[in-house]
Point group: none
Chain length 221, copies 2
Amino acid sequence: MRVLLVEDDRRIAADIAKALEASGYLVERVSNGEEAWFRGDTEDYGAVILDLGLPGMDGLALLKRWRANGRRMPILILTARASWAERVDGIDAGADDYLPKPFRMEELLARLRSIVRRSSGHASSVITAGEITLDERRMKVTVHGVPIALSPLEYRLVTHLMRHRGRVVSQHELDENVYGHGEEHDSNALEVLVGRVRKKLGPGAIETRRGFGYMMPEAPA
Amino acid sequence: MRVLLVEDDRRIAADIAKALEASGYLVERVSNGEEAWFRGDTEDYGAVILDLGLPGMDGLALLKRWRANGRRMPILILTARASWAERVDGIDAGADDYLPKPFRMEELLARLRSIVRRSSGHASSVITAGEITLDERRMKVTVHGVPIALSPLEYRLVTHLMRHRGRVVSQHELDENVYGHGEEHDSNALEVLVGRVRKKLGPGAIETRRGFGYMMPEAPA
DNA sequence: TGATCCATGTCAGCGACGTGTCAGCTTCGG
DNA sequence: CCGAAGCTGACACGTCGCTGACATGGATCA
């Protein structure tokens, strides 16, 4: 993992870099605000370690500019100024953690692990089938990127078909997963439901396998 | 947002609870390890504030058991023991931040905001959704830059929806996070509350997903 | 202590949406 | 070419959620 180290004190920077490299990180060192800003804005780092006491550009301003530009990498702030007001500012500016000098290298490593671990835990699982996407966390279905409004039953139908896309799903299985099930019905409610969903997702979204059930193709036909 | 406060010192607990409530959190207090373990394991909290110096069960062990059970809520540790080794232990055990006593209430609030913000994947403590902005630090909501006055319940509703903007939030989840966890009511208090907030934030601020819940869109429709 | 205000819950009425039913039509497979 | 499986549009009905008005109750202030 690449880590951007922003620190103007050569000795401290060297110590940190050494410790990081020993822990398997790939370190890039920068010592002034302008350069740091540019690198952080254009390159992708797994994490940034940022000393607030920089010449050239204020560290907090730097941080805010990154965040304003949508940069989301985890950031660990280092500083000699350890007043509570400073810390509050740093944290609210979008830092992920804050470490006052002097510190033990073990603690820096622990906090770095912590913020990296957290930032990687936010992958949203999105299922795709042809032009249709389903974001289960957001309960959002899109076709060609256009969000589609679905009723509760329709949504359940789509999620089950998407989860098992590329496979034929029997009416009975759908019945069980869409309606909660006690009774079997002799009605065609499911067929009607499929019809309504097709109207929203477009024809071809759900294929009929006469006598077996339905299938959502993984790729467009 | 519901916060679990685990602290056996009645005075400190009262102070913290008061500050949290003034900041719009819904606080549940627990003073012993057993109770804390049970609550944290069975209920959903937006965050936990955990004092390590507990009678009954060791705070670190408690923390590890939660994490082992897959509980992911952000946790802020409080302790009198401020050695760096302790801090490393706490963080590696799965705590999200660490605050040595004594501390300023402002700093506790800032760190709490920070870990909550991170756990939801946001980079900044100012959240934006369309023309609406929420500054959690200042407890300020604006629409088109115009500040809006909100009652406590309204504020909690808005913060929860803003934190989870772009995602559908069920009535049940809102119920838990806006009102405490007491009885389930069969009343329409929540709907009325939503109505009142809509009147203040403008129509379109909160979308209804019939049968699912409510959603605050990330961008204007 | 009483008057007033603000926050919040309750209730009733209503409009809109979701869903099942049914009849008739189309399509598929043999 | 026939029958069964599946599709579609229309309609009916119940429920969900919205609204405005009113009730309650705690805090504040004279």
